[in-house]
């Protein structure tokens, strides 16, 4: 597996985990009393954060809410670095 495959696969993992949050957020919007769903939602946010941290520490922030890691800065990461999502 080369570096760019690794990056792509880890990004896909972030997309997966973030999607779980999106989906559970909509569900809990209309089911505020479903405690089981609320627990899943809280867990999903934690899991998504972990995977995002893994990605961002190596390949740089995905949004301006994350602090750039030393490693990302060392490899020359800038917010304006390509690829943008439509350039992949």
């Amino acid at each position: 597996m080369n570096a760019s495959d690794e990056e792509w696969n880890l990004l896909k993992k972030v997309q997966q985990m973030d999607f779980v949050v999106v989906e559970l957020t909509l569900y809990t919007d209309t089911h505020p009393n479903d405690e089981e769903a609320m627990n899943q939602w809280r867990e999903a946010i934690k899991e998504a954060k972990k995977v995002r941290k893994q990605y961002e520490s190596r390949f740089g922030p995905l949004s301006l809410l994350s602090v750039p890691s030393k490693q990302a800065i060392e490899v020359g990461w800038h917010w304006n670095s390509t690829p943008w999502p439509w350039q992949r």
Partner: protein, 189 residues
Amino acid sequence: MWVYEKKLLYPVEVTTCNPMLARYIMEQYGGADGELAAALRYMNQRYTVPDKVIGLLTDISTEEFSHLEMLATMIYKLTKDATPEQLEKAGLGAHFVNHGHSLFYENAGGVPFTTTYIQSKGDPIADLYEDIAAEEKARATYQWLIDISDDPGINDALRFLRERENIHSLRFREAVELLKDERDRKKIF
């Protein structure tokens, strides 16, 4: 406010230049039942709906913007390497002379987007029923797009989007029930 995320909601993999397919997908980009219409519609309605459903309209509208970005990515990738001749053959000659290779909010027939496609009625039930209809129409359009497309990468992303329309429709139906319950409770007391 919103914060940009440097990733798509769901991966869009395109390997073949296909301007005709790009033109068809523009129906969901800048058409009457497309993602721009959906995103703008809900984002405007949310200010005057009951508190119980503000979150839902905000969250679905935000998700629609991420769908819009997926469609933009498809259109961009399907057309970026097309020659003017190829664009013309695909029915995008008029698009090319006006916009070059850039994207524009228009439907598959080249009609520019207009806010006359959408409503904000100041009546939550009327608004939510429009929203349910919008999701169902978008779902139908995605189905026709999947039927006409033979690009596996595009179809994978279109199927994801079609399923999201189903979920949004379901959530809006639940929102209607939440408001009806509230209304009925008020009558009792």
